[in-house]
């Protein structure tokens, strides 16, 4: 035993440590752990073969672009499997995600069979994924324009709301005089979704873009203001006192103590604000603004082109996932001191 301990102290790799801790796994368990990482690739391969070679319903056709995309995914999985032989973390991650990948592959296969192969779910309401992809590629310049416009509107509204919200919230938390005037506004406006004002704002605003940006900003402003105010008010007293005894003036305390100390609370407001911004964006685009993905969905519905509509919905999903991922990365970076990780 002492020998093992001295080996450990001599510098043991993360992998060896894990293996030591997993020594009570049976051989079957270990074998299963190795085998499971191959299964996602196998199921994706089955889906690919099914899509390309299984006979399709009457005049339906499989999509080459879709097959290409699935192939890319398959290649990525194979590279990952290869990599997992060298990196224990990659192996664990793949093993962890395997069940999810398998489920997705089975779902895609089942949907493909129900639509493209048998026509049990019929067009125009149920296009197969490949058909949606083809439609997106065919209409790509229009879609890019919509994505660009949606992004522009989202960011304009979001950052305006965040900026004003931070200033209002931090000052309201800092000074009771500012709070006296801000709090009633948040009490009244906070209870009402900003989309309520959509008809009147769209009528009064000089540009539809400006009106929609205003509504998004208003929706974001509320949670950001409230969270910043709460964050500032809950800064622990001894931080102020420590800064004071170190000769920091009031402005210094505000910027170097109060703001960073309230960051964790502020970020909950920023995240909440982002989901409100996404919601308001889609509603605004569907109701008034004549550009963007929300508008595109409505427009295609008018033409009865459900395939293109699904394409836009997929793009909206991807857009929001991307935006929220970026926000999460920023949060992790700014609040890295919370976990004590470097």
């Amino acid at each position: 035993m002492a020998e093992i301990v001295s080996t450990i102290n001599a510098g043991i790799s993360q992998k060896e440590l894990r293996l030591l801790e997993q020594r009570d796994l049976t051989t079957t368990d270990k074998l299963l752990r190795r085998v499971i990482v191959f299964l996602p690739a196998l199921f994706v391969l089955i889906h690919l073969a099914e899509h390309l070679f299984f006979p399709s319903n009457s005049n339906y056709k499989p999509s080459v672009a879709y097959a290409g995309l699935i192939t890319l995914f398959l290649v990525a999985l194979i590279i990952w499997i290869g990599f997992s032989y060298f990196s224990y973390r990659a192996f664990e991650k793949l093993r962890h995600d395997s069940a999810l990948f398998i489920a997705i592959a089975i779902l895609l296969t089942a949907y493909d069979i129900a639509t493209l192969k048998t026509g049990a779910l019929a067009l125009p309401y149920f296009p197969w994924v490949g058909k949606v992809l083809d439609a997106m590629i065919a209409d790509k310049s229009k879609l890019w324009e919509c994505v660009y416009h949606s992004f522009k509107l989202l960011f304009t509204g979001y950052f305006a709301g965040v900026g004003i919200g931070l200033v209002c919230g931090i000052l309201a938390g800092w000074s009771s005089k500012v709070q006296y005037w801000i709090q009633p506004i948040t009490r009244v406006l906070g209870a009402i979704p900003s989309t309520t004002y959509m008809p009147i704002v769209m009528m009064l605003a000089s540009s539809l873009f400006g009106g929609a940006a205003f509504l998004i900003g208003l929706g974001v402003w509320f949670p950001v203001t409230v969270s910043a105010m709460n964050g500032v008010q809950n800064v622990q007293k001894h931080y102020y006192e420590a800064a004071q005894t170190l000769g920091t003036n009031r402005l210094g305390i505000l910027l170097r103590v109060v703001v960073p100390a309230s960051m964790p609370t502020i970020f909950t407001g920023l995240t909440q604000g982002m989901s409100i911004a996404c919601l308001t964006l889609v509603v605004a685009e569907m109701m008034g603004v004549e550009a963007g993905l929300g508008w595109y969905i409505n427009w295609q519905k008018g033409w009865g082109d459900f395939t293109k509509m699904y394409g836009a919905i997929i793009l909206i999903c991807l857009t929001f996932i991307l935006v929220n991922t970026i926000l999460e990365l920023i949060r992790k970076r700014v609040l890295r001191w919370q976990n004590g990780g470097i």
Binding site: E241, L246, W337
Partner: protein, 261 residues
């Protein structure tokens, strides 16, 4: 070396509890003179107002009656001349150890000229390897060492220590006590330590001020005439310990019935 003198004149502090009509006399007519470069400890049971007294010296609280002067100047607010180390270290968790230590220098715009001092102090408390760590990654003792370095970088004349070792385990406490003596000898500061640990007070200070609770009063001022480094099992040490404990016990019995706070 004549700076760092603290004079407490007729200081009384009365608190009024917001939920009730009654008032509480936390400090009752305190008079004390602390010489430049002196190491003084204030001991007393909880509720004797010793922390309040320290906060008044720091300028974080105002006395109801009386005044505190530091080098002849009346204390009206906080100042870099009087550094404070808190019981819970109060390090800024969003800053690295190094940025915490430099905090005061950044506030007073002296980072460039005093960077070496900050480096030296961090070395003296034994944490130069942890410059880039965040406070959440440090143990309680390490955090308190950083807090000591942080309070000393601004070069205060008086260092106020508000039970800085109260929350630490016995071994860590002894280590940091030695670090404190080392800092006091090399930096030549006036040190005022609040503690409820009698041994700590005798081990560290030249003078021990014994306070009684409710109302907070000075019972006795005792000179500790032992050479440094002191030996905790020395017979004189034991004598001081017994004497102080006896005084504290009497002070406790003479006090009003304890309030439920």
């Amino acid at each position: 070396m004549a700076v760092g003198n603290v004079e407490i004149k007729d200081v009384t502090k009365i608190f009024r509890r917001s939920d009730e009509q009654e008032t509480l006399t936390a400090l009752d007519n305190i008079n004390l003179t602390i010489e430049p470069g002196e190491f003084v400890s204030i001991v007393g049971a909880s509720g004797c107002g010793k922390s309040t007294l320290l906060r008044i010296i720091a300028g974080l609280e105002k006395p109801t009656i009386g005044e505190v002067t530091c080098d002849g100047e009346q204390v009206t607010g906080t100042s870099v001349k009087r550094g404070l180390v808190f019981q819970n270290h109060a390090l800024f968790p969003w800053l690295t150890v190094w940025d915490n230590v430099l905090f005061g220098l950044r506030s007073t715009g002296r980072v460039k000229e005093k960077k070496d001092l900050a480096d030296q102090l961090l070395g003296q408390v034994g944490l130069e390897k942890f410059k880039k760590s965040y406070p959440n990654q440090l143990s309680g003792g390490m955090s308190q060492r950083v807090a000591l370095a942080r309070a000393l970088t601004t070069e205060p004349d008086v260092l106020l220590l508000d039970e800085p070792l109260g929350a630490l385990d016995a071994f860590t406490r002894m280590n940091i006590q030695d670090a404190l003596i080392d800092l006091w000898k090399t930096r030549e500061k006036t040190m005022i330590l609040i503690t409820h640990d009698v041994d700590e007070a005798i081990y560290l200070s030249q003078r021990v001020i014994i306070m009684s609770p409710r109302p907070g009063r000075v019972v006795e001022t005792l000179k500790i005439e032992l050479p440094y480094p002191r030996n905790r099992s020395d017979s004189n040490f034991t004598y001081y310990r017994n004497h102080i404990l006896e005084k504290l016990d009497l002070a406790q019995k003479g006090a009003d019935v304890e309030y439920v706070i």
